[in-house]
Structure formats: C-alpha cells, structure tokens
Amino acid sequence: MSARAAAQLELMDFREVYHYPRGKADWIVRGLPSDPSPSLRERMRAFPYFVNNLLPVIRSGWIRWSHRSSVGDFIDRTPKTLKPRERLAREAPTAGAPFAVVLDDSGVLLGAIDDWRPDVVAIEAMISAPQTIRPDMTAALAARLLAHAPYLLVSTALGVYLGRYRQPSAKGGSNDGERPLQPGVFDASDPE
C-alpha cells in the first residue's frame, strides 16, 4: 500500500519520495514517538506484524509446513497491463473487472481500471486503491477477503504487481476449505 502511494507521488513529480515498508507496526513496537501514544492493546496488536516484518520466513514456513495453499499458487495474469499515460482503447477487454491494471516502469501497481472509458488516459481512469494481498497469504484467508471485495490483486511488499488472485475451484486446488483457519496471528480483517 505505501509502495503504491510512493509510486503515485513519484508519478506526480514529487522528487524525493521514500517508503517505510515495515510501517507503523515497526514504529509502535520500538516505542518511537506516536500520537496519541499507543495503548498496550495497540502495541500487542502490532507485535505479530513486527515479528513478521523481521522474519517473514516464519509465516511462509508455517504455510508450507501445514500444507496450506497460498495465494501464490492461484495467480492469474489475465488483466491487461497499462502504462499510466497510455490511453484506453476503444474496445474494452472482454475479461471482467478489473479490465486492466496500471503499472509504473518498475512494475509497481498504481491502480486498476474497473470502468472502461475509451480514449481516457489510464491514470485518470483508474481507481488508485484496489485491495491487494501478498502471495504468501493462505488461500483460505484470501477466499474470506474475496467475499467482501470484487477482486483481489496480488503484489509484493514492495508494491510490484504479480497478478489477480484466482479463487481455486471447489473441487480442487486449495486444501484449505477442508480445514479450519488457524486463529489469531494474522487477522483476516487486516489486509493491506
């Protein structure tokens, strides 16, 4: 999310833009100046994210060890990709929303096009905050998020676009449908 915002700012000609990928969780757990000062509950909530920031291998290892499917197994590259200044063609792609995604020169996702407006420049036609998830999220959690979003796009922590999450069919693909989700550490209400 912050990588996308930074890429958008660079596109707007802000020259010196930085991105703090470890984010507020890192800042809070380290006890650095915050406003208002975070409650103990906030610090506790931030802690799992802090740990994952430092050691993402714990989470990805847990997914592998427990034989869960991850989002990375179900990525679809169908949506058309556009450059920010590219004009939309007269004919909309036949695939459903998003019709296209807008990427900067580094492949960072800037936004998605849900409403096809011929001849309009991509950056003006896009929505800038489509929901994104990471490839190492469990497919079960992604399926729960997808119940509340028209689609989910997959990107890395540095904002690089990987594709659209394609929900596995009921018959096969994910084995997560047969298992209850592990409670707790990474809350379903906390997507990017």
Partner: protein, 66 residues
C-alpha cells in the same frame, strides 16, 4: 523510490521530511507517527499537490510489510 528503515526515518524526520500515513482515518486516529500527515491511499493522486510540499522529502508508510 527508496525503502528506509526506522533509523533512516528518524533522520529524515529530524531533517524536516513530510511523513505521510496512507491508512484509513480510523487507523490514523488510533495512533500515528508523531507529526504524520494523513493522506489515505485513495486520495493521494487527488490531494497530494495541495497537501504536500514538493521541495521537501516525503516518507510514506502504512501498517506493515504484509
């Protein structure tokens, strides 16, 4: 764009950089980096020109790297 860690962010903050939180309003109200500006992701392209100075560094953050 360059990624920074908390040490670099402290130095940039001391040097007058604009710190920008792009999370939703309720997240910002709960707590944010002291002095951070709130500019939700969906408003960046619309509002950044009016709310941010182009001659000072900007550091953008959200909640975590997940």
């Amino acid at each position: 764009m360059k990624s920074v860690d908390y040490r670099e962010l402290i130095a940039l903050r001391r040097g007058g950089a604009q710190i920008v939180e792009v999370l939703p309003a309720f997240e910002y109200r709960t707590t944010h980096i002291a002095g951070a500006i709130h500019l939700p992701l969906a408003r960046v392209i619309v509002d950044a020109s009016n709310r941010l100075a182009s001659d000072r560094p900007i550091v953008v953050y959200c909640r975590d790297a997940l």
